[in-house]
């Protein structure tokens, strides 16, 4: 069941990100469902799942972007691993804490990405913060918070988290 869910996420994230999300932009910036999905999977299902799904999601997304494949896979994989390690330290995670956490994490990823990708000199760090990282982090936090809140109200997240850690 888990493998099927992960496959759907990996295969489905590209159409969502490239066809549907361009209609849902904030100042021309769209949310990164990859960041949201990988963080949630890492937090709930642990670091191994976070790492593997992160690598696969980053890889799939970069195949349909000008971004180089390795960097995409490494960034998302690292994010999943960190989310998994962070989730292990938490007993209770409220939607508000998750929103704040996603905001910070997405911002950090947004700051690291232009440096790793070696973008054009026009796209400097200041430009990246104000024009991509911050709007994207806000959208990621809101969407991630909404998904987590839905899961939180429907399922027993704490039980899922502790089961995955066993």
């Amino acid at each position: 069941m888990k493998a099927l869910l992960y496959s759907v996420v990996i295969v489905g994230i590209v159409p969502v990100q490239s066809v549907l999300l361009p209609h849902l932009t904030l100042w021309g910036v769209k949310p990164d469902f990859g960041v949201v999905a990988v963080c949630l999977i890492g937090l709930i299902n642990g670091e191994l799942d976070g790492l593997l799904v992160g690598v696969a999601v980053g890889w799939a997304l970069s195949l349909f972007s000008a971004q180089d494949v390795l960097t995409g896979a490494m960034l998302k994989g690292g994010l999943g691993l960190v989310a998994g390690l962070a989730g292990r330290q938490m007993v209770y995670l409220s939607p508000l804490v998750l929103v704040l956490g996603l905001l910070v994490v997405s911002c950090l990823v947004g700051l690291v990405t232009p440096v790793v990708l070696k973008l054009s000199p026009q796209q400097d760090l200041w430009w990246a913060i104000w024009n991509v990282a911050l709007p994207q982090a806000c959208l990621d936090a809101v969407i991630g918070g909404a998904i987590y809140w839905l899961m939180w109200s429907q399922f027993n997240i704490e039980q899922l988290m502790s089961e995955s850690r066993m």
């Binding site: 159409p15 990100q17 349909f64 390795l70 995409g72 850690r165």
Partner: protein, 290 residues
């Protein structure tokens, strides 16, 4: 039971950490090799993903078509589309005529006139946009199996769209002319001054390295110079809207409005670069006449 569970958790953590270390080491020590492995193995993954991508794009286009055609005033939409198509064709014809006139004048003085072969074009449909926010790209529904390769030029009848940067079997990613990471050799049609066209972060383009003595002015058209692989000479890139001349600078630059609005592209033509003469071929010594 508790002991067993703990062992499983510990194993998972260990496996995750080992995998992460292997990936990081690979990323640091063998980036080129790992990149090609990921790109190569990504072929089947890209092929699998291209199916739902095409399906979602098809549904999206249908909904957009129904919305545009019926809900948002059918007659006006059709008429507008027809007029835009005609305008694009006329612009293209105008550009070609200007270019022909300039070329005829110039080439009439030369002893040898080598006619440029028209490249083969592959029509493709836009099915998506970049999956991230860092690059301005479009995804088209033709890929490596249709003969599309990285670095091939992409155009519409109105002008240059961009350049292919990545392909899977059935899709290709095109970096738009308005992306700051793209660079195309350009030529001011009236003054014949050459430069490099780069995208800007504002979604426009900029012609750089124009000679200081150039008489370029707003309203001048910029076309491809044919000096880089992928684009033949004379394809419209944009129109100059502003000239920037800084004191003590070695060159001047110009802001361009691209001929093609990247947000409204639906179909494109990919130029098969094998038929476009490469820089080496153009610059080589002319063959002696028999």
């Amino acid at each position: 039971m508790w002991m067993v569970n703990l062992r499983v958790t510990s194993n998972a953590r260990r496996v995750a950490l080992v995998l992460a270390v292997v990936l990081i080491l690979g990323f640091l020590l063998l980036p080129g090799q790992l990149q090609s492995v990921f790109q190569g193995v990504g072929g089947p993954l890209g092929w699998i993903i291209s199916w739902p991508l095409s399906a979602v794009a098809g549904v999206h286009d249908r909904i957009a078509g129904v919305w545009g055609g019926y809900v948002a005033l059918q007659g006006i939409e059709d008429e507008n589309r027809q007029l835009k198509r005609e305008l694009e064709l006329l612009k293209e014809q105008n550009g070609q005529l200007r270019e022909s006139a300039a070329a005829t004048e110039r080439l009439a003085t030369l002893l040898e006139f080598k006619r440029q072969a028209l490249p083969t074009l592959i029509a493709a449909q836009v099915i998506g946009r970049d999956t991230g926010n860092w690059y301005k790209t479009i995804i088209v529904d033709k890929g490596a199996s249709d003969g599309i390769l990285p670095d091939q030029g992409v155009i519409t009848p109105a002008g240059v769209v961009g350049r292919v940067v990545k392909t899977t079997a059935s899709t290709a990613v095109v970096l738009l002319v308005t992306d700051p990471n793209n660079a195309i050799a350009g030529l001011i049609q009236r003054t014949r001054d050459e430069g490099i066209v780069e995208g800007t972060t504002q979604g426009q383009a900029r012609l750089k390295y124009i000679p200081l003595l150039s008489g370029a002015r707003p309203g001048d058209r910029v076309v491809t110079s044919g000096l880089v692989e992928g684009f033949p000479r004379g394809l419209a890139i944009g129109t100059i809207t502003r000239i920037d001349k800084e004191e003590e600078a070695l060159f001047q630059s110009a802001e361009l409005t691209p001929e093609v609005d990247p947000n409204r592209i639906e179909e494109v033509l990919v130029i098969q670069s094998s038929l476009v003469p490469a820089e080496k071929e153009r610059l080589s010594m002319p063959r002696p006449k028999p």
